[in-house]
Symmetry: C2
Subunit: 457 residues, 2 copies
């Protein structure tokens, strides 16, 4: 609508500067040294919601990082959209690989480079600005509620309790989230599903102290070697995961679903070039889209043990460690998978070492219905601003709480992401396109408009 | 001899305090941040040699850390003993596992706890004090030369050049080294051989940046997983090393040699208890003594990649690294083995990653003759102070330059170590027994006495 276009054109620069300010706050939820920053970020989000026109804005404490809530109820009889996002970000390590400091946003080639620019500050803030647009132009077509949390990157451990204790306050007709990617601005897409997650940490202990590799080498099991053997055994020669029971209940796609999924444009040469790899890798019998969207995985996120400093140290380490996470698909229960992993990892350890497995966190996979009013509203909104219908795709990432919304609030979720896979989420030089940011702010009001109309309330 | 006993009893405390001062200098040769400390340590050693009575004492610069030289020529016609030792120490990491700071020596339960206490400051300094004893009591039976270097823990890269350029200055009849262990003070032993070493660093690179393990996981090779598979493949199910050609030329022991080696007292239950392991591990078909003394090994000394900080980061790392070293036995050439390893490690890498192998350093294995005058002198010296003949054993460690002495100076080496395997060499809480220290100082003069007598010069 012209009124939205005009308002947004007029406040374009402020919309950007406000985001840059948020990006300067290092709200790293995984690192307790940043607890104060995370708290300050929550306060900043609260302030922005108030300025945008939201009521009852509040920083709600939890056992971990707080959740920011705000709402605008224009008419209880109208449908209500619950917007979810997160203001916490991933750790920036390894810092030396950033071209500019992660918390000093830089705009280059039309992109904002900063940790959190795409995941998720840049994306949830589009909703704040879209809401401001509708509110200040008196065109808000429905009720809106905001729930912006601070623990998404560490598993949203305290959100379930918050949902259960605030069912009335969070009453809504749909959850709307922008925390995923589309194929490109030329080829808009909508996520129809997300993978679940089970994140584990393992500790392998051999001798009770680091040993001289000459005096003891050859006679005592080296925990780094044993850990390597254990990790190596988690995939077979076809890159199937070997944990007993891991695939039980996994829902295979129908031929139609596979066909639809693989119909999305994909250029393997470009994909490899962008990643700098000569050859792709993955489970035998599946395409790249299927491997990242519809199949479970088991990845080493980190591994360490022994001497990792400068030069040489001839030590036989006492311990070796790894962070290992599994992406899960419909049919898999993350708690059951965590148990299966722990049992298996202990079972395959030789008697010469001791193994400890600690589950970090997890979340259930989710598939969203494509025949719902909300999904149609999202498709039409994208069509209205992109000029074409979005392609339905399966996202490989995980937003553990999407399943919680359904379980606790009984709400379906629409995943309307405006990022790109190449935004370097969780990586150095994370970026978010200015066009993606503005296009999101432009598109979101149409979702509210169509959702209200289609709801016919 | 009584005169030695009296002198040493009189100066007992000073002998100890001087060692403690040396131990307070963090001469970590592998860490360039300690270059100044290493230099200061060399100067301190020089000062001590001068005080002990040595002539022509000099800190000789090299391309790396300096070598301290000193000598006492009482009569060119008498035999000359070249004492070798090293004043550099291993890095103290992991610091958090030390009960007391590594460079603030503490005496507890009759042992000196400090990095370098046994390897090798405590052991080479016994020779300085033994020399002082003989010199100040006018009982020096032969000429003595000292060569104390500062790069033993990083492969003695500059010593070969020094030997070649100082052949005359280093002219001697035998090399005497205390940098190894004996079974115990009740069961003295003499090393008859040392293993060689080939130390490598490997780097496995997958994608050109850390990736989101959800967005890309399952479709791109994870370098940490690939590195684990490559390391796992280095040993087969019998713990034989799988590198093609690795065992070529390895000299197998005769049945007699195996019998003699395994005749040394060994209590597997105590050994496991000391290490805190339920089960030993090693190459099928060999005893623990054989595994550590006579068989080559391949050990992971360090491994790292991805996110190793607090909490969880769902990253698919761009790179993974490992430090891997091989202990070598007679018949193996460390440079050839380094090449074989590098070729093999590159060869087994899948096309989905790139592999870089960097050799750190190495050294040849060594077997010392047991029928030489020098070995007899060492045996008799131990017999004189311990009251029993030492058991000949094969040491598992490496002193790369022992082979260099033979090659460049044409000298055989006697390995008269007074440490214990349980001294935590290269580990936290390294220690050296006060009894071992004083027993060494007491025993060494007898070596010079008997060596001079048996040489009959």
């Amino acid at each position: 609508m012209q009124v939205w276009k005009d308002y947004q054109a007029q406040h374009k620069d402020r919309f950007l500067n406000e985001l840059l300010e948020l990006l300067r706050i290092p709200s790293v939820s995984a690192d307790s040294r940043h607890n104060e920053d995370t708290k300050n970020c929550a306060e900043a989000v609260k302030q922005r919601l108030v300025e945008a026109g939201a009521d009852k804005v509040e920083v709600c404490p939890t056992a971990g990082h707080p959740i920011v809530y705000g709402e605008k109820i224009i008419d209880p009889k109208l449908p209500t959209v619950l917007v979810y996002g997160h203001y916490d970000v991933q750790p920036p390590d390894p810092l030396n690989l950033w071209d500019s400091p992660p918390f000093e946003p830089v705009i280059k080639d039309g992109k904002i480079f900063a940790r959190g620019s795409a995941d998720d500050k840049g994306q949830f803030y589009m909703h704040v600005k879209a809401f401001e647009t509708m509110f200040n132009t008196n065109t808000l077509p429905c009720n809106v509620k905001f729930m912006i949390e601070g623990e998404e990157e560490v598993g949203s451990g305290n959100l379930g309790k918050f949902l259960s204790e605030n069912k009335d306050r969070l009453k809504a007709d749909v959850v709307l989230i922008s925390d995923t990617a589309m194929i490109s601005l030329d080829t808009p897409s909508l996520d129809t599903g997300l993978r679940g997650l089970a994140y584990m940490e393992v500790e392998v202990t051999g001798p009770n102290r680091d040993l001289h590799s000459g005096v003891y080498g050859g006679a005592v099991a080296n925990p780094a070697t044993i850990l390597a053997k254990m990790i190596a055994s988690l995939h077979d020669e076809n890159n199937h995961i070997t944990i007993p029971g891991f695939y039980d209940g996994v829902v295979e796609l129908t031929d139609e679903e596979r066909k639809a999924l693989n119909s999305a444009p994909f250029d393997e040469a470009d994909y490899k070039k962008d990643l700098g790899v000569d050859e792709l890798w993955g489970e035998k019998g599946y395409s790249t889209f299927e491997r990242t969207g519809t199949r479970p995985t088991c990845e080493v996120n980190g591994i360490w043990g022994g001497y990792t400093g400068e030069g040489a140290k001839t030590v036989l380490p006492s311990q070796a460690f790894a962070k290992i996470s599994m992406r899960l698909v419909p049919g898999q229960d993350w708690e059951k998978i965590s148990d299966l992993f722990a049992k298996h990892f202990v079972a395959i350890a030789p008697k010469s070492v001791r193994v400890k497995v600690t589950p970090h966190h997890g979340g259930a996979p989710y598939v969203t219905p494509t025949d719902s009013i909300a999904f149609k509203a999202a498709s039409e909104a994208i069509n209205a601003t992109f000029g074409k219908q979005p392609i339905p795709v399966r996202g490989g990432g995980s937003i553990p709480i999407v399943a919680l919304f359904e379980k606790i609030l009984g709400l379906k979720t629409v995943l309307m992401g405006f990022g790109l896979d190449s935004d370097n989420l969780h990586s150095p030089n994370e970026k978010y396109g200015l066009d993606n940011y503005y296009k999101g702010i432009e598109t979101i009001p149409y979702f509210h408009k169509y959702f209200a109309e289609l709801s016919g309330k």
